[in-house]
């Protein structure tokens, strides 16, 4: 192994790719070499670094300096100043991404958004429990512990119609009821904060902006199902989230809002943080459980489901950050209040992360069922330069790609799957007409090849083959039959993979083939890119 005095990490997540990170990467490599630094400085393309709205993003180590919105023209200055002379290029540093990047001052935001999950984000000091309490914090927990039986709590959550916000959309109240019914000496509440979906950063911003709401929601879940122990499994890169959660836990314990005999109710609840080590598959609930247990991060066979046999074989509720953030307001305001938002089938709001070719990038919270068109043109401020919309990928890298014909489809957990896509975690990647669909497909498929855990055949081998075939098409080496093979392989992966990773990995390519097949065919048959942008 070779050693370098400095590493330059270039974010290779999808949004940064769209922002031109590959050019930046190539320019960095060339400039480092030109300056004779290539034995001292290594340029590395990494996975998504997180701040997708600031791309292209690079981090220079060992200092850990994060540069944002880096252009090719900035590269000589970074190399000259930082890598050669050791001076930070301050004009490219900006402020660290924090909660509340949403621009409140714009009237359209206020008009459309309903803030349940993000009620405190950007409003309170997340490191102050007093400010959280001042905004009704821990009142829902108090209400549950003093006025409600555990069964009432579950009933209220059931009635609210809340479904899981991690992507699978399983009814939360029903999930809790399985664990509540299970007979065991120990039960657990797990908060899944291993937000690994490229382009998704909602959980990070919730954790950074309102950590107490997660602790309160978990304690309520614990009371409802009879668990006295919780773990928050946080993506390891979310340093600030981990720091603020840690502080929040200390504060809550100091005030007796966590720990033993909360509010004198006899109910006790403790929360610990567990850091993930970067595997995408650990966001899958059983992979997450294996990881907490100290094992290789791989999904388990289901059944048994975690609800009855989860962490250390005990009944376990696993809920996403956003799901849990919904719990305190639902219990405080009642299920009927919650049902006023969103749609009949899918009540409440959804937090989306807007990325790609859109003017306002960042975090938004809107009622379930809003159309893509309103999100893009009313909230997102449209596409830069007034360019033409090409497609939107909903639900993160494992989501489907929707063409302009579907701009008016209501976005909720039940309607999008009817069009081959998914709401998923709530990532929204917007792309304008200048992008080559094959190029994008190659990028997505490379991601899954890298992130497959390798356990089951269809995912381990299938992700690699999807990428291999798409990469060939992108290089102009596609052949007749490739698209049919992609389709067939994708279908088999969707129905026979062991976990959600392999089942969802073909979704983007399947939808692309459905809605943009002619572009693939042009690459194969005519060796031509209709957008004229890819390297073919």
């Amino acid at each position: 192994m070779e050693f370098y005095r400095s590493h330059v990490l270039v974010c290779g997540g999808t949004p940064c790719v769209l922002e031109g990170c590959k050019g930046v990467r190539d320019a960095l490599i060339a400039e480092v070499k030109r300056r004779g630094l290539d034995r001292e400085v290594k340029v590395v393309e990494t996975g998504c670094l997180g701040p997708c709205d600031l791309g292209p993003v690079i981090v220079v180590y060992p200092e850990g300096t994060l540069y944002q919105k880096v252009r090719v023209s900035d590269v000589p200055e970074i190399v000259e100043q930082h890598l050669l002379k050791g001076r930070v290029v301050t004009r490219l540093v900006g402020e660290a991404p924090q909660a509340g990047v949403v621009k409140y001052e714009e009237p359209t935001y206020l008009g459309v958004q309903e803030r349940i999950v993000l009620r405190n984000c950007g409003v309170i000091d997340p490191e102050s429990i007093e400010e959280y309490i001042a905004r009704d914090g821990y009142r829902a927990l108090a209400k549950c512990l003093t006025e409600m039986k555990p069964a009432d709590v579950i009933e209220a959550v059931k009635k609210s119609g809340l479904v899981g916000r991690g992507g699978a959309a399983f009814p939360t109240g029903l999930k809790w009821s399985f664990t509540a019914k299970a007979d065991a000496d120990q039960k657990y509440i797990l908060c899944n904060a291993d937000e690994g979906e490229p382009g998704t950063f909602k959980d990070r911003l919730i954790l950074e902006g309102d950590p107490h709401s997660i602790l309160e929601g978990m304690a309520i879940a614990g009371y409802a199902v009879g668990a006295d122990k919780g773990f928050i499994y946080v993506r390891g890169e979310y340093v600030l989230s981990i720091e603020r959660l840690g502080k929040a836990i200390e504060q809550a314990k100091a005030l007796g809002l966590l720990g033993s005999n909360i509010f004198g109710s006899g109910f006790s609840f403790d929360v610990e943080i567990r850091k993930g080590a970067g595997a995408y598959v650990c966001g899958e609930e059983t992979g997450l459980i294996e990881s907490i247990e100290g094992k290789r991060g791989e999904p388990r066979i289901k059944p048994p489901y975690p609800g009855t046999e989860g962490l250390y074989g005990k009944p376990t509720v696993v809920n996403n950050v956003e799901t849990i953030a919904n719990i305190p307001p639902i219990l405080l305001n009642g299920p009927d209040w919650f049902r006023k938002f969103g749609t009949e089938r899918c009540p409440g709001t959804k937090v989306f992360t807007l990325t790609g070719d859109i003017n306002n990038k960042g975090l938004i919270e809107v009622p379930m069922g809003i159309t893509l068109r309103r999100v893009i043109y009313e909230i997102g401020g449209g596409i830069p330069g007034g360019r033409e919309f090409k497609m939107a990928q909903t639900g993160g890298t494992s989501g489907g790609c929707l063409p302009k014909e579907l701009l008016d489809v209501p976005m909720d957990y039940f309607t999008l799957p009817e069009h081959g896509s998914a709401l998923g975690s709530g990532a929204l990647l917007i792309m304008d007409a200048s992008h080559c669909i094959v190029d994008i497909a190659e990028c997505f498929m490379r991601f899954f090849e890298h992130e497959s855990c390798g356990k089951c055949t269809p995912c381990r081998e299938g992700t690699a083959r999807l990428h291999e075939i798409v990469a060939k098409i992108a290089r102009g080496e596609g052949k007749p039959g490739d698209l049919e093979l992609l389709d067939e392989l994708g279908s088999v992966m969707q129905v026979s993979s062991l976990c959600g990773l392999g089942q969802a990995a073909p979704v983007p390519i399947k939808t692309m083939l459905k809605y943009f097949r002619d572009e693939f065919e042009a690459h194969i048959n005519d060796r031509l890119c209709p957008t004229g942008t890819c390297g073919i």
Binding site: A279, V281, S452, C453, G454, K455, P458, L485, V495, S496
Partner: protein, 585 residues
């Protein structure tokens, strides 16, 4: 109970039965690959997927439990497509060199490809290009052939408790390997070879030493002697197309003579000798307050496991060499002298059910005759290969007898090959030597059978001798942990490395399942019942060798030739290649 409908036919099974087993009851053989009847459910190959009414996803039949009213389809177009594409994906990553593969015609992947009529692989044929592991004298790993079914992982962890093999890296780079890609010689591998039985393909196999034996047989200056291990007389038949559990001792002897071995003798003879030495060692430890419980030492996989994981308990292990090594030491001393042959001209071959025996024969201390005591160890599978190549057909063979003098044995020696057999043989002798009176009942049923840990109490004179028997290293570990904690209240423990004992050894014919291990074991007990002598100390050849050569049990000659010592080893040993007669570094 649950009533399920599979392919339109109803069957009632216990709730929680897997779809695979429910279908079996209807005579439907759902194809599987990562499934193994004796191992934990993996559900990773996704070959056995089936369609369940009302479910969007296909489910693995090997893992999915039935529910009352469930409607299952095992042969829909969707199911067939998924199975074939998943098989195609595996084949595209697998060397297509079946003709040169050790598992040609016993390969489960090959059988599936045949069953599915695979005529085309649409994905680019791409191997992972992983290096082979030839680091040990016993086991060869060819990771490029591995299909990542993880059966070996389950065997190595759940059954054998060695924890040597596990999946590493991820995605298409995933590989099953010892830690950090080390060779098996650099980790705490017992070399038991059970992973070979777990492997559906040729990714793990025994080191093939047949060529060295062919060469020796063809060398007119070599006097080639073979010893046949107890467990091989009930398993070699399977290599020759017979069903499991046939006692083929006589035909085996005839076959070996036809291959050209100058003398065909019997490890059973030294198994009897082991009982005399070990029985006397046990009585001595009892009498003189030696270290108890004493643990048997016949199983080289167990010895290596003990050296790695329980170096603090080595003093509990009997100092007796295994029957193979006692034979090896005697064939180049006692036999050589008796037959008037220069020991350097003797080529000593052993036929063993075991891969660890190859390692044992290579241990630097196993040269007490002044030469390498055992020159080559052949597993049952390797002998099968030689017999088939030579065109020897069992049905045409007469039954022949082993050669004298080291070919005479007792029923006590025969049962060495089954779990509990060494203990039973030892008890038969210890009782009569210690008390001077005849055993009221020769069969010790409590220590027979496939239960993981067996216990018994036997009154020998005034003493209630408490014994325990463990087979499979996972079971051994349970007893050894108790012993370490001071809670193993036994006098004498038998440990066999492999499940079922040597009949289930890592060198035995493929397939070896729990069921087959049981059948082979029963055959050994049947062989025992049919023999004229059933107690080791009644073996006339044993009396003769003490009179002519050894003097007395635990005497000076025995000490030099028949006893050994053990070497504490680390869990991540550095490799020190020691040659015959030198101490390991």
């Amino acid at each position: 109970m649950a009533m399920v409908t599979i392919d339109g036919r109803k069957v009632e099974v216990d709730a929680g039965t897997t779809i695979l087993n429910a279908a079996k009851k209807l005579g439907i053989d759902i194809p599987t690959l990562c499934h193994h009847p004796d191992l934990a459910v993996q559900a990773v190959c996704r070959i056995c997927v089936v369609e369940i009414e009302g479910q969007k996803l296909l489910q693995p039949a090997c893992a999915f439990p039935v529910q009352d009213g469930m409607v299952v389809y095992t042969n829909t177009p969707r199911v067939r497509q998924a199975r074939k594409v998943n098989l195609e994906l595996l084949l595209a990553r697998h060397p297509q060199d079946c003709l040169q593969c050790v598992r040609n015609r016993s390969c489960e992947l090959q059988a599936l490809a045949e069953r599915f009529g695979m005529r085309e692989i649409r994905f680019e044929h791409k191997l992972r290009g992983l290096p082979e592991d030839h680091s040990t004298p016993a086991i060869v790993r060819e990771p490029d052939k591995c299909i990542l079914c993880r059966r070996c992982v389950s065997m190595c962890h759940d059954v054998q408790a060695a924890g040597v093999l596990f999946p590493s890296r991820r995605g298409a780079d995933t590989v099953v390997t010892p830690v950090f890609g080390r060779g098996l010689d650099e980790v705490a591998c017992a070399l038991c070879g059970q992973c070979i039985h777990a492997c559906p393909v040729g990714a793990i196999s025994e080191r093939d030493d047949t060529e060295r034996v062919w060469q020796a047989l063809a060398d007119p200056n070599k006097h080639v002697v073979v010893q046949t291990a107890p467990a091989t007389r009930v398993s070699i038949g399977e290599e020759m197309g017979l069903p499991p559990g046939q006692i083929i001792t006589g035909k085996l002897v005839a076959a070996l003579r036809r291959l050209g071995f100058d003398k065909v003798m019997d490890t059973d003879f030294t198994a009897d000798l082991t009982i005399i030495e070990e029985g006397n060692e046990f009585l001595k430890r009892l009498k003189e307050g030696g270290v108890l419980p004493m643990i048997t030492s016949c199983s080289p996989g167990w010895i290596k496991f003990g050296e790695h994981f329980y170096p603090d308990l080595l003093k509990h292990i009997s100092t007796c060499k295994s029957p193979q090594q006692m034979f090896g030491a005697l064939v180049k001393t006692y036999y050589a002298r008796k037959a008037g042959i220069d020991p350097k001209d003797i080529f000593s071959v052993s036929l063993m059910p075991c891969t660890a025996k190859k390692y044992e024969a290579d241990r630097p201390e196993m040269c007490d005759s002044g030469y390498k005591d055992v020159d080559v160890v052949l597993t049952s599978r390797e002998l099968g290969r030689m017999l088939r190549e030579a065109g020897i057909r069992f049905e045409d063979l007469p039954e022949e007898e082993h050669d004298d003098p080291m070919g005479i044995s007792t029923g006590a020696a025969a049962i060495f090959g089954a779990t509990g057999g060494v203990m039973e043989a030892a008890l038969r002798t210890v009782y009569e030597v210690a008390t001077g009176s005849e055993l009221p009942k020769i069969d010790f049923e409590e220590v027979r059978g496939l239960k993981g840990i067996k216990e018994a109490q036997v009154k020998v004179g005034d003493l209630d001798v408490r014994v325990a028997v463990a087979h499979g290293l996972g079971n051994a570990k349970k007893i050894l942990d108790l012993l370490r904690e001071g809670k193993a209240n036994y006098h004498f423990i038998e440990i066999m490395c492999c499940p079922g004992g040597c009949v289930g050894g890592g060198g035995q014919p493929i397939p070896t399942t729990m069921e087959i291990r049981g059948i082979r074991g029963n055959a050994l007990y049947e062989a025992d019942r049919g023999l004229p002598y059933r107690k080791s100390h009644e073996n006339p050849a044993i009396k003769q060798i003490y009179a002519e050569f050894l003097g007395e049990p635990l005497g000076e000659v025995s000490h030099h030739l028949l006893h050994t010592h053990y070497t504490p080893r680390q869990k991540y040993p550095s490799v020190a290649k020691a040659v015959c007669g030198e101490a390991a570094g």
